[in-house]
Amino acid sequence: MIALLAAAWAQDPIVTALQEELQRSMSELVLPDSPRPYFVAYRMKEAWNIEVRASLGGVLRDTVGPDRRLVAEVRVGSPEYDSVNFRSGYGSENGLVATDLVIGDAPLAVRKDAWLGSDAAYKEGVANLSAKEAADARRSEGDTTPDYTLGEPLEHLGQKGAAPDLARLRELAVAISARFAKHPDVELSSVTAWASGGRFVVIDSLGMHVERPIESVDLEISGNARAADGSRTSDLRSIRVRTLDDLPSLAELERSVDDIARALTSWQAATIPEEPYIGPLLVEGSAAVDLFRRRILTELQGTPDPERPVSGTRRISFGSSGSPERAYALKRRILPRGWTITDDPQSDPRSPAWRTHDDEGTPTQAIELVTDGIVRTHYMSRTPSSAIAQSNGHGRSDRDYTVRGSPMVTELHPDRTATRRRLHKEALKITATYGNDHYLVLRRYESDIPDLFRMRVPGHEPLELVRVFANGREEHIRGVELEGLTRRALRDAVMAGDSTTEVFRSGSDHFQITAPSVLLDEVEAKPRHGSAEKPPPVASPLAREPSTGR
């Protein structure tokens, strides 16, 4: 069976056409007095994509269709010193060129698109290499870290994801969105669903041919509410699975709507503190995952940024002009003793983040990034850093088509976890030393997606922040700014509790993070005096009294 499947893929005329054009580019592309490519790779995403957006039982928009997109990567120079790993200005004209391919089963037409993409990538590569050499000639000390690591010939032909069903997804999105009609306090709401089914193909000039499935369904349910003082907030719950069949039942999804409404209603009724609070904070659930993602995991991405000209020698140069290596140094303590961080992309086949090979075709590896609180390795692609020379199969394509080492299925494990009761007791003990009669628990941040109707991008503000008293009574508060949620605070975390798993979507890719709740011994919660707009004189259509319409 496996042999038959492999034979079918091997005869795939689209891939064959791409392989032919790739080989022609590798062997024949040359400009006068210029180096030839030393490596060419094509990365193709071929999928049926669906997007449905619904609000209050109506469809805002839906799009469906096949898409075939190629990134041609042409490297000039050598793995030690090449054209890709350099950026002189705002653009990224470095030999990575994205091209839309025809969607028809027409290999010759596909070749023509690939031909133009490769030609442009090669010319960019030659120009960028010469710009890099010129800039480096001016530099007092050169960077000796190699720019790339070549892989081995490899063939892996995974299955193709099935095309998703638009009608089913539309019906579901509409039904979930209609649930918001039961919650008049939620002023604006939407349900956005994406689904993709197809394959991701990597071929290169060293004989690699890797295919892995593209298979994902994302539901994002969001609602927005306004408090009596005009302040607004929004909440978003996401459900991300591999296929439509993996989704929870409609009743469960409707419960997410009810949960959003409950969170927003609690926020509306919350107290605005008049005095600042200094004391312990227990970060739970999705807020804990979010905190570790933002503060810790981004600093474990080992792929260096592209090199840049010497600072001050270009008038327009965006991004960091400092060291391109920004990950935590190896051997540095970043978490309490006993904590580990692992990433195993093949550990959860039901997750849309699951993958056997990364975006460079390298087999994914289970890695232990942090042991006993100390950094041992980084997420790595084939672009080495001064600390790590090899890929560990964590290369994920970024928006500029560069492949960077990135989280895939990451888990943070404390050496021991405390019960809720134990965390409560410990928090009360710490807060007493600050003279408080309560401590704070942060459960959710407000959503950081652009607001549906106003393009307002909410800050990373708490949505569900609660005062907890000794007798267990809880009181929601809002309108505060939290300070002290630093990397240092996580390193010195007092205690950890139960874990939560969240799946994130980045472009069309996914990654998954599991993190425990964590008790921090000192944060500051300062009342924030906002600039909220007055509420409108007309109630929202859902909140109007039927008799008056007002």
């Binding site: 064959t16 805002l60 928009r61 969607i103 596909v110 010319k123 393009m455 929202s540 259509p541």
Partner: protein, 555 residues
Amino acid sequence: MWILSLVTARAEPPDPVLEALSRELEVSVEGWREEPDPPYYLAYRSVDRHVWRIEARYGALASSSDSRVRVLDVVARVGSFELDSTHPIRDASALQAPYHMGQQMPVSGPPEALQSVVWEATNKEVRDAQELWRQLQTVQKVKVEEIHEAPDFSPATAVVDVRPLAELEVDRGAWEDTLIEVSAVLDAHPDILRSAAELSAEAENHYIVTSEGTRLRHPRTWLRVDIHTEAIADDGMVLRIYRWKDVRVAEALPDADELTSWAEDLVQRTVALRVAPLGDAYDGPILLRGPAAGVFMHEVIGHRVEGHRQKDEKEGQTFREKIGTQLLPPDISIFDDPTLDTWTGTYLNGSYAYDDEGQPAQRAWIVRDGVFEGFLMSRSPIDIEGFHHSNGHGRASSYNTPTARMANTIVSSSRPVPVAELRAMLLAEVRAQGREYGMMIEELAGGFTMTGRVYPNSFNVRATYGWRVYADGRPDELVRGIDLVGTPLVALSNVMAAGDDPGVFNGFCGASSGSVPNAAVSPSLLIRQLETQKKESSSDRPPLLPKPQGPETGT
């Protein structure tokens, strides 16, 4: 292949969009009335747009999409007709102004789904208008009086007209097959780098509901088939040539045979242009062939007679004081008429029944018998007698506020000269000026013009296909890489004669109120003196490897 129909209005069911807009308008007017500085005018404009697009290239399907979108724009005015919140705050940075933006409305669902969007958009636009109004009252006190004082808005009679819905039904498979075939013809020559055959079809239903009582629903349909090619000359100049046809009904589209013939012709022209010599800077007689002449007039005079520019102190106002002045030869007239659906049998892209402020479309004369007569007007009045009200030219794309814009701009002559005679006149003028050759411009890809006071008040018309016409009888010589440039009054004063070959250029015009469909119609025009300049060029070498050629690989 395509069935595009206007469904007849027989016992039309209630329209959910019209109902939602009307209901929300009523509630909003009532609710905001109790606030300080309530809007004196509130309007909702919505466009429901069903769009099909198909693209084929290299003998294969490149994309095929079907989308439906419904967009809402809210206009709120605070103050009075004389002075209101839309009045420009002089010397203010555009970045300080609240940003008007449209909203996407659901294309289906219960009334609350539609009304929630309208409610949210109304809140934003009214609050923005109130803030601007309060700011304006102070700013007016610290600035000198304006030179041209005119009210900000003109009253208008309410219109109620609910027309049948436009609907679109497409035989997608048949058109995909046709375009695939045509795209293979376009790609056949090795010098053609890129090419495509495309079809766009849109059915739009426009809604306008205002606090003055206007309730409108009017349809618009549009289909375009378009083929284009791209080649690169040895000096790096990228050459793109297009051919297209805009129509209202599917039956008027060219069939596969006609498209194939177009494709063959376009390939030949592209290949010829690739090796044509570069044009150079030139001043002298130029013969503009039909559609090219229409675009020329669009850029030279059209944008400068848009009414709102006559009271904007940053605008050049070239024609503001020219009413009654002889601008063109006495046989030439120009008017703009959105009520015309065709001209000499060709569909006009700028046709509509009502403009985007809900005003009935009207013919507006710009030049009659060579004498400048007037401006295109939206509901923004100007302080010139006869131009205090709209003449049905308030236009905007979604997400923009309407201003005066062209629709179907028609240049005509009462003494048309046969084209062969016009060419003879060109040569006579070339000889009279002692020149080696004159220029004949056949095709344009569009143009642009600068109408303000800071930058040169000039135009640039982007020629794609032009010829040197030699005085000594040598064959005409195709040249590439030139644009027509000049300044408006001098250019108009050099118009000598018009031909008998009216040509239609259907396109989309982008300006401050967005991209709107329009048509420029003109016979060929002979210009005594006009300038060409070299076109900008890229510097990339042609592809290093030859184009992959058939047979199909891997099959």
